[in-house]
Each structure stands twice: as structure tokens, then as C-alpha cells.
Symmetry: C2
């Protein structure tokens, strides 16, 4: 009746990382090696369109992408599994010594990105670059999705509120444990102030927040007894949950307990009902020194309504909507071959699949505008079109050449980015389209590549 | 420039599990201990309403829940973190020796469940039971969400198609690595045939499938050369991706390559365009011996349309929609205190928060109907209302007393469950409501508990 740790906890050690990939990546890798077809290739990670009601995406997850590229390996148990699945010995020997030797350029975390702009480009022998597809999309896609969701909430509390505290309360509803941890990180770098997840706080050095649950209240003979006991233990750090029975009555009890015990209790939390109306009533009952925190159904749309309805609060705890990006739960990023070496040269490559065309060749993303971003141009890597390139060097010949910024400095970058994005692009519904054009050089290469493909097919 | 493994990979070892919780669980735990208030309590894990267009939910994730309950612990580094965060030494000593000593009853994986029916109930000293809230919701909620999504697809291919192969292709779009692994498991126990995720295959002993990507095709001089090279390596196991340039032309090339190389190539994959129409054209081009696999945008709604439009295929690779349950990305499960010991007796407990009321007391879920499920009654644990109880004993006094079923046998249970659910409850849009009533005993207890609370408040 014993359960196997690995079968249950789902943790990935360094030795496990190699297997976190789609079977076809391994199949192709073996095929490339066995057919001695290992040209250098460039893969580009990007998304084709913005999720519903998103005017921009905040890039996140590069730190994790870097770790995977640097440390991915195959342990003995993992190789034994592949042997059982029919992969041959010389291929397993190759995997046992797998090492990334390529180049990577990427957009730093905290940068606003738009459709068809590469978040990351890998240039390496094709079999190496291929292997990372699954993990890179998984990590960069998810964190960018959540950082964007957090940035939208931060933007609303800045524009409509008083730049209130935002704390990720959503670990329980995140899709698994890695999502709980990474959503906490992504929310922070996207503009939140911290998380309720203790493990994420420990790992990523994030501020951790917490109050109490209804169960605490219910387990005592009365709400008052529950408050008193909590304040006895936590004193001025106490945040008392007041909606278990009647919110405004709960606020009065919280106030009275603080007064009678002569403790400068930090505040209260509301978690149900008409939160804007209740927050006003609660504010009237409480002394100024006590803060009001609001949770339950918090997202950017809720926040806008809350302020429009005259709600007053010092902080919010977005949960499910933040960690699952409920209204748009995927960014649908892709990782596409855009160039492949042929006769010693990198040749632009594209496919013609309907609705899934991508631009060929390694790229740069040029941004114009200083205090306010005006437009981007997606150009060929070495094309001179002005503006500043968003992509920076991360790996050269397998060596990490990028200084990883702290979550705090990424968060700072996101906040500056929000200031620089046009207001209508930041709108949380029906945002304006930020102007992104394709450079003349890239357009010409795309036309030429497409024409060559069609010619090839007609033969 | 070194990155820390744990900060990046997000893996959870046994020693990490204790920290994967919300700060408030730890805050309350310390509070319960310091105030010497550790009554026995029952917590119930359930959801209040079905996600949009869901007529039922398939319970999943119990195996992982069991592992957490049994093995959760705090390592030295984790305890040091909590010390730095201000938790006192005697509390840390308690955590260092944390052990679950309670009882658990749960619905076996693969069982259909409905709103207000407990998927799992924990009865233990309140500080123990409290700690698990975050992890239990996280794991059981996510896997149940994905098992349900897979079951819906399985049901459509059974009713409208030919019970085709369904393979999880969605790891890259899952929310992190744990979601990729657990979605693969949940999809399988929910009725899929396997996954593309090699690590999930290895961990959970699931069939792993894979074909090739567009990059394989693009990296060669021609589609034909790409096919030939692949077939040279993989022979009859080859599944050739035919939509890189022109799907029907690609099918002809695949057929010709198989013929010329005299290999009984397994089949082809289509990944773009009007898939129903293209599948018919491709079927006409290919010999009967070659299978047609379809991917790109596959979900239950797509499958229904595909068959309605006369599409023909031997297998499908649902991706993003499966691993993120895109149309309904959360089940919103909760874990609520329903009973607490007082004067030696378990006293039913509830809160009055608006829109968030839950039924008090430990429960049983009684199902009526044999070949076809007719109705459920949510009753008090020891109430005799007929039917069969869905909840089984899992832990008694901290000892595991439940034999964990294999993924295969859970999958079998799900398939039988689908057969037994009324057809209109299984509808993928606007499903009928399955009849779930509250027993007389539970209704009376709820009224009594609520009246007592209101009386208490009026005093």
C-alpha cells in the first residue's frame, strides 16, 4: 500500500527535467542524430495573438527557462525508462551526457510584448534546441500569463484606487504545486506585493501574508472568543476575518476586542457579500488605525467595480482569477523553427499551414518611444531599423552571459513598463491595438521564403 | 550568476510539502496550539456549483491527497525559513515532528460527484486537519477538473465517433510542470488513452505517444526527404505530419514514401486547416492500413462538430483545452469546517457568510439506481436513508486502510460511470441537472445549527 513519492508529489529533480518533454521531441532528437542531420537551427518562442481583452503581455519566466537550458539532464532511472520504451543504447549514451552548447537571446522579464514578437530565441544544433520546446513553452507561457494578470490588477488599483496592497491568495486553486509556486513569483514580478504561499516565499524570497480562515472562528464558542484568542497570540499583527456570521457586526466585535484588549490590531478581512457596500459600513465602524482587506472574487474587473461603487479598502487578496487567469487561461505560445543551417548559412524557414504562418529568420524587436511606447517593429536580427532592441544575450556557446535580476528589480521594471504603455492599450476590456509592424527586410524575406516554398511544391 | 535549483525547478521534496500551504494555515496552527485549543474537527472538501456546461465532475487526485496526508513534513531548511519569519521555537519543534493521526473518508477516483457532495472528509485535531487545506484543494481540485474534461471528450468519441484514441498533447500549455504531470494522469483516469509527456508516462506508468513536429519537416530540403529520413529510423512506427505545406499533397507524399520504401507506415497527422474536410480528402488518398490522427484545437465541442461534419480519424490529440480545461479552468473547490468537538461530542458547525453557506456535520453521499444512476442524497454520516454510500474509509487513526487502485482500474471505473450517468446529464452543453437532495436529517441539523447561530448573535 506504499505510494511512491515521485508518483505522487510530482517534484522534478535535475535528473527528471530531461523527461519533462513530449515524446516526439525525443523521437526527433534520436532521428536527427541517427540520420546525421544536425544542422544549426533557430527556434523562436512567441504567441500569435493576445488573449481576450489583453492589450499587452508582461514577459516572465526567463529565470526558469535559463535554469532548464543550463541544467536539464537525464538520470539513471530516467534513462532506464527510455530503454524500456525502446530507445537504443547509443542514443541513451548521448542523453546521459546531454549539454546545451547554443546561443539564447530573450526579452528580460517585466517587458511588455505583443503578438509575433519573440520572447526567446534559441540557436543551437537542431537536436538540442528541439528538446527544450515543451519545457520552455510551459514555463515562459504560464508565468507570462500570470504576470500579465497581476499587472492588470496593479494598473486598476493605481488608476482607480489608491495603489492598494495586492496579495496572491490563489495557491489552492492553482493547477498543481508548480503552478502555485510559479504563479506566486509571476504575480509578484507582475506587480503584486506578495503571496500567501509559504513555499513560494521561501524559494523566491517574496513577502508572505496571511490572516485567518472561517474555521478558526467557527471552532470557538463565539466570534468574540475567536478574535480574543487570536489577538492574545498575535497582538498587533492580527487581521480578523469578520464575515463568518454578520460582517458589520463582526467589525464592531473586532473593534471592541482591540479596544478592550488595548491592542493596536492591524485590521479586518471581508470575504463575502456586497463587498463595496460592506467595506464602507465596516470603515465607518472601525478606527482609522485598522485596515480593511477584501478577498473573494477579486480580479481586475471586480476592482474596477469596487472603486466605481465607492468601496474603500487597504488591500486585496485575488485568488483563483489570479493564479489561473480564469478569463483567459492560456497564452497559447509556440516555439517554431525559423532558420536552419544549409551549406554553412542560416537559411530562413517557415511553414504554410493554414492560420499558423510564422515569420522566418532570427529576429530583433525594435521599440520606439521613450516615456511612452509608440510602436514596435519586428525586424531581421541584423537589420538596422532604428529603435532599441528588446532582446538581450542570455547564453553564448552554452555559457550564461546574463545577470539574473532579482524579483524586486523585475517588479520595478513591470511597474515602469505599465507607466510607459499607452492608456488605451492598458484598458482591461477592448484594449486598443498597440502598433507592431513587420520591417521591410523581414517582409521581403517572408515573401521570398514563401515564394521559394511554393515553387518547390509546384515542381 | 548561479541559479538555485529549488528557486527555479519548483520541485517539491517530502521536506518541502509542509511549506506548500497558505501562511494563514500555519498562523492558525500555531494559534490553536498556543491557546491550547485543539478540538477534534471535521473538514469537508467539496464544490458549491458545477463549472459552466458541466453536468458532473469525475473525482480524481485521491492518490496524491493520500501521499500528502501521510508524508507531509518540514525539513531543516524549511523550519529555518519559518524561524526567520518569526515563528517561535516550540512551534517549530512541533512541526519538525508533525504527523497526521486522523481519519479520512473519500470518494474513490473515477466516481461522478455533484455540488455539495464531499469528495473527501478529514477528521482530526483541528490544527492537523487545517494544515492540509491548501494542498488538498490544489491536488484534488485540479485533477478532478481535468479528469472531467477528458471524460467529456471520451463520451463524445463514444457517442458520435468510433471510440477513437485520445492522447493528451497538452503538457506545454499546462500551468507548470506539476500540472503537466498531473493533467496527464488525470486525463488517463478520465478516459484518455495516454499522454505525450514522457515523465508522466514514467511516473504513472501511462502509455506514451508521439509523432513529429513541423520543425522536423522544415529542417530538411523537402517534405519527402523529411518523411524518408523518419521512416528510415522508425519504420512502421512512423506517424508523418502532413500539413506543413499542403495537407492533401502531404498525404500523397506520405503514401508514396511508404509504398516506395515498402514500409507499412502507421499513419499521418493533420494539425491545421478545416480538419473535418481535410480528413476526408486525406482518407481517400491513403491506403486503409494508414491511420489518420488529428490535432489542433481538439476538445469535446470540436469533436462533436468534426463528426457532424463527416470527419474521419483514428485518433485525436487534445492539448491546451484538455490540460487547462480552457472553457472552465477551475472547479472552485473549498475545504470547510463542518463539525467541531465540544464537551466530548462532535458538534455540527456552519457559517452564515452570504452565498457561501455549507451544510454542517460529517456526511455520507447515498447514490440510488443501479445500471443508471437515478439520484443522490447527501445525508448525515450515520443517517439511514438507503442507497449506497460513495465515501470509503481511507485513513483510520492516521493509518492508511485503503488499497490504492491503479490508473487502469480508475480509468475503468470512469468508463463505467459514464455508462451509468443519464445521457442528458452527460450533455456537453446545457446539461440536465442530476437530482441531488439533502436528507431530512441533514436539513433538520442545518436548520437547528443556523437557528442556534442566529440566537447566539441576537444575544
Amino acid at each position: 500500500m506504499a505510494t511512491d513519492d515521485r508518483a505522487t508529489f510530482g517534484h522534478l529533480s535535475r535528473e527528471d527535467l530531461g523527461l519533462f518533454t513530449d515524446r516526439y521531441e525525443l523521437t526527433m532528437l534520436r532521428g536527427y542524430l541517427e540520420s546525421d542531420h544536425t544542422p544549426r537551427a533557430t527556434f523562436s518562442l512567441f504567441f500569435r495573438s493576445l488573449p481576450t481583452d489583453r492589450g499587452y503581455v508582461i514577459a516572465a519566466g526567463l529565470e526558469q527557462a535559463i535554469a532548464y537550458l543550463r541544467d536539464l539532464s537525464f538520470g539513471e532511472r530516467q534513462l532506464a525508462h527510455l530503454r524500456d520504451e525502446g530507445f537504443p543504447g547509443d542514443f541513451l549514451d548521448y542523453l546521459a551526457n546531454f549539454e546545451f552548447t547554443g546561443d539564447v537571446r530573450a526579452v528580460p522579464e517585466g517587458t511588455a510584448v505583443f503578438p509575433n514578437e519573440p520572447l526567446l530565441e534559441v540557436t543551437a544544433p537542431i537536436h538540442q534546441a528541439q528538446l527544450f520546446e515543451t519545457l520552455l513553452i510551459n514555463q515562459v507561457g504560464f508565468q507570462s500569463l500570470i504576470a500579465t494578470k497581476a499587472a492588470r490588477m496593479r494598473d486598476v488599483v493605481r488608476r482607480h484606487g489608491d495603489d492598494q496592497t495586492l496579495v496572491d491568495f490563489g495557491s489552492r486553486r492553482a493547477h498543481g504545486t508548480d503552478a502555485g509556486l510559479k504563479a506566486a513569483r509571476a504575480a509578484y514580478v507582475g506587480g503584486a506585493d506578495g503571496t500567501s504561499n509559504e513555499a513560494a516565499g521561501e524559494r523566491f524570497d517574496l513577502p508572505v501574508f496571511g490572516t485567518m480562515a472561517h474555521s478558526w472562528i467557527q471552532s470557538f464558542e463565539s466570534e468574540r472568543a475567536a478574535f480574543e484568542t487570536f489577538v492574545e497570540v498575535y497582538g498587533a499583527d492580527s487581521v480578523l476575518l469578520i464575515d463568518t456570521y454578520d460582517t458589520v457586526e463582526g467589525a464592531r466585535t473586532a473593534r471592541d476586542v482591540a479596544r478592550e484588549m488595548d491592542v493596536d490590531v492591524r485590521g479586518v478581512r471581508l470575504d463575502s457579500g456586497d463587498l463595496a457596500a460592506l467595506s464602507r459600513s465596516v470603515r465607518e465602524v472601525l478606527p482609522d488605525s485598522m485596515d480593511v482587506f477584501v478577498s473573494s472574487g477579486v480580479d481586475e474587473y471586480f476592482l474596477r467595480s469596487f472603486f466605481a461603487d465607492g468601496g474603500v479598502a487597504d488591500g486585496f487578496g485575488p485568488g483563483t482569477s489570479l493564479t489561473t487567469s480564469t478569463d483567459a487561461p492560456t497564452l497559447n505560445p509556440v516555439y517554431k523553427l525559423v532558420a536552419v543551417e544549409s551549406a554553412g548559412e542560416m537559411r530562413p524557414s517557415m511553414k504554410l499551414s493554414k492560420g499558423k504562418v510564422s515569420y522566418p529568420g532570427a529576429k530583433s524587436v525594435r521599440r520606439f518611444g521613450d516615456d511612452t511606447f509608440e510602436r514596435d517593429v519586428v525586424a531581421e536580427r541584423d537589420e538596422d531599423v532604428g529603435g532599441r532592441d528588446l532582446l538581450v544575450d542570455v547564453f553564448r556557446d552554452g555559457d550564461l552571459v546574463y545577470e539574473l535580476p532579482s524579483p524586486d528589480s523585475i517588479r520595478e521594471r513591470t511597474l515602469e513598463t505599465l507607466e510607459s504603455l499607452p492608456a488605451d492599450v492598458r484598458a482591461i476590456e477592448d484594449p486598443a491595438e498597440y502598433p507592431v509592424t513587420i520591417s521591410d527586410g523581414l517582409a521581403a524575406t517572408a515573401d521570398r521564403t514563401q515564394a521559394a516554398l511554393r515553387e518547390e511544391m509546384d515542381r
